[in-house]
Subunit: 513 residues, 2 copies
């Protein structure tokens, strides 16, 4: 064990990191993988409250302070995800002697398989992988899937693996609500249900495991830290417990490259609007997350005066509950951040108006949201289990997908992935009537090269000005039936097309040479 | 009522069909729709056995003899699907006076919506819709889905509506077997379970209804007339009952444009191989189906010596259980008929070797089968219901899809639908080892224009001779992750590419102008 006071210069650092020779061989972790340091320590008292632990990871002139956490049964962990290749060195610091001054190094190796790193913001409004690979966000929602019984959790992973979705909105805490949210969780997040000073480590280990499974499937976990649909007290733990919990979540989870932070599902529901200090939470995440995962805060009412102030510096992207797609350009321009339509309503059959959209309209919303320059999110409220069981509906507990939109969403995704989306800009023709979404024309284009326009209704005229002097290949897309029909090439200049059927898009691409 | 003896010349015919003025207004039925004539008649005795009924439908010089059937409770029906526009006239004939000599006409109107007609064979080896629209067959299998309880039947329709599948293999009779086939049917096809002289009309009405729902979803119903997995006697009814039943099925179902006839699931299982006279059944269908739906007969053992003689004139297409994709070209050349890989094994987790393939391999089989010039069929043996219920597995009872292949199959389908498949030819490089499917290279091409090659293994060289003198656009397809990566254009001539990962395809398309 080394005295910390020795460390005070480059010399000291060299000496300090030199101690790795005394420990085990350098471990290897691939870039953007999770490097986990496991440290045995005292289990006495309440380590969650009393023990401080962090590590400083260093490579060249870059240093990251990475929080550690207690994981029960005398085990402490520090998780770090290196973002560049080569050797990293670390040393720990703790108020518990046996955890402090532990040092070592890791060799960060090339990423393998489908590891393209975390996502990052590109061209102000879009998202791509850290290695520059394209990422087109196709979200779904299963709020409390990690709180339900294990067999359903397993089924959810299986379902996601066979789905088009690459992002899922999911709460840490269980949810109490109607429409399939009426059971107690498989375990409670805290000891004795609501001793907020003592985590239930099994609960959080399971949460980590599920996030890791999503990582392996290439699915972003949009982790919702707080929500109002609570009967156990997790929405009213108080500032101190909130801060402790958020810091614990950072320590446990932020090393997983697929994690996003969603401060709230519906921050403005009166019960939590003032009760939770959103600035406090946002600031902690902003200042203390060593991996700087994306941060959003999602509204309840679907109008912009219920948005949290998205110009706040700790907010990385606009996370909205709305289907006012016609405002997308305005919001993008106002906040200069990526726009995620994180709740657009649900396909399904519950009695609530927000949860009984047809599959056709759910799929249609994807085209509207996507061509408005945002990223869409799906939800399904159909019951997916049999009569003799507790009600399982995807939007709440996961399980199985029943609605017919996912196949069409897959088609939409395949199509969008053929476009240079990050170089494209939206424009919206609302045809003078914001109340009727279905006659709005949404166009995403790259001037002189590619124009894609969508309108849900038949008999609506799409008008475009095709720039440049090259011919355009012209394709009509039947988005519901997933058919693309080539038409005759069209000249540049004014283009007009009146839709024949519902759910049509037009796709114009200039011809080379 | 008119005396039939009066009808003997054009004059008589004119006079005869002139009687429509006395009956109700001409009914309208769209082209390839179902025109149903409902006739009340005596319910005494055993109409199934004793009453004969047919109608002659006529348009210009074309006449079709259409069988009618008894549907219980004193109701007789005749179903006809007109294949050309304009007026059709009909007159009935029966040994029951009140059913005979009924005449009328129908006006066949233009098809609407997604009605492209029945499928037909094109260019010897392929299938398209009657109106010339492309159809690429993507099958699945749920043998006894119409025999299980109604809630599962409803769920199956819902699942299919959200799936990529446009053909399903389905038995008329319930099935008794392991792996999710252990329940009694929701109703029995015959009175008292096995009084083969008296249908249970509810059972058959439900079957019609399900076929009609598939029609509306654009899904071909590959109706399996006989199978060996039987404990009720339906596989051993004897020649006379078999003939009666097959004629009844023709009368009830052939007017539905999505019906195909599959004489058997596994005709060569010893229990039914000799017990059923396949020539008798095939000949009845060939001679008496007024709508001439496709006819196939599916084998048990997966080797060609267990194929039924596919050169028989009543067989329209090769319906195989096999995954010997490397024999596809040989079989196509031998029989000069479309080749359907109607059972290639199943993704899932049952103990039987045929039913525990990975989702990756199931998806991979689609590429092999499709690029070998055949049409692939999916199956899923995973359990899809909860613990407290009777075992439900898609391959047997329908319900929900669990495996991860359908999304990849959707991607395969989207891709194949961008190709002029009916103008393309397969070639297969088996790399000297038929035992290892995964290093076979399957290529479907249109000389000088398009080449698509697939091999399941990494590190296998694909060699092509690209004809013509135009550059080719070159794309590598990661078929499992559904990503298409553009590469630099390649020159015509010899092309070589060694696959880097499993499940890769290459796609070369010559550039215009």
């Amino acid at each position: 064990m080394m005295h910390k006071r020795l460390i005070n210069s480059l010399l000291a650092i060299t000496f300090f990191f030199g101690t790795i020779g005394y420990s085990s061989a350098t471990e290897k972790t691939e870039q953007w993988g999770v490097h986990e340091i496991i440290l045995p320590g005292a289990a006495t008292g309440n380590p969650y409250q009393e023990v401080t632990l962090k590590a400083e990871f260093k490579q060249g002139s870059r240093r990251f302070t990475v929080p550690g956490f207690y994981d029960g049964e005398g085990v402490y962990k520090i998780r770090f995800s290196p973002d560049s290749l080569g050797t990293w060195q670390y040393v720990t610091q703790s108020n518990l002697a046996e955890l402090s001054g532990q040092s070592g190094s890791l060799e960060c190796t090339k990423p393998t398989g489908n590891n393209h790193g975390p996502v990052r913001i590109v061209n102000t409004y879009y998202i791509e992988y850290a290695d520059g690979s394209p990422f087109y966000s196709i979200g779904t929602t299963a709020y409390q899937w990690t709180s339900v019984k294990q067999s359903i959790q397993e089924q959810t992973v299986q379902t996601l693996a066979g789905s088009p979705f690459n992002k899922i909105r999911m709460c840490v805490f269980p949810k109490s609500y109607k429409h399939g949210n009426d059971t107690e969780p498989w375990q409670y997040p805290f000891a004795s249900q609501n001793d907020f000073t003592r985590p239930n480590y099994d609960f959080f280990q399971n949460f980590d495991k599920r996030v890791h499974q999503l990582l392996e499937l290439g699915i972003q976990a949009d982790v919702i830290l707080f929500h109002p649909y609570d009967k156990w007290g997790y929405a009213a733990m108080g500032k101190e417990n909130n801060a402790k919990y958020v810091r614990y979540m950072i320590a446990r989870l932020s090393a997983y490259r697929n994690v996003w932070w969603s401060l709230a599902n519906e921050w403005d529901v009166p019960r939590i609007k003032e009760a939770i200090d959103w600035e406090q939470i946002g600031t902690i995440l902003h200042n203390e997350d060593p991996h700087q995962r994306l941060r959003g805060i999602h509204n309840w009412y679907g109008s912009e005066d219920h948005f949290y102030d998205h110009s706040r510096p700790w907010i990385t992207h606009i996370s909205t509950q709305t289907h006012q797609f016609y405002n997308a350009v305005k919001w993008r321009n106002r906040y200069k951040k990526p726009l995620l339509f994180d709740e657009m309503r649900y396909e399904g059959d519950v009695t609530s108006g927000w949860g009984n959209m047809s599959s056709e309209d759910m799929a249609s919303f994807f085209w509207m949201a996507g061509l408005s320059g945002g990223y869409p999110t799906h939800g399904d409220t159909y019951r997916n289990n049999s009569d003799h069981e507790t009600e399982v509906r995807w939007w709440a507990k996961g399980g199985l997908l029943v609605g017919r939109s996912p196949l069409r969403i897959a088609f939409f995704k395949f199509f969008m992935e053929t476009l240079p989306v990050k170089e494209m800009s939206p424009s919206i023709e609302d045809n003078g009537n914001q109340k009727n979404l279905n006659n709005n024309v949404y166009t995403l284009s790259k001037e002189g090269e590619i124009y894609v326009s969508y309108v849900a209704d038949a008999e609506v005229e799409i008008k475009l000005e095709l720039t440049g002097n090259r011919l355009y290949q012209f394709t009509v897309i039947d988005t519901w039936n997933m058919k693309m029909s080539s038409r005759n090439d069209v000249q540049p200049g004014e283009f007009r097309y009146k839709t024949r059927n519902k759910y049509e898009a037009v796709y114009l691409r200039s011809k080379h040479h």
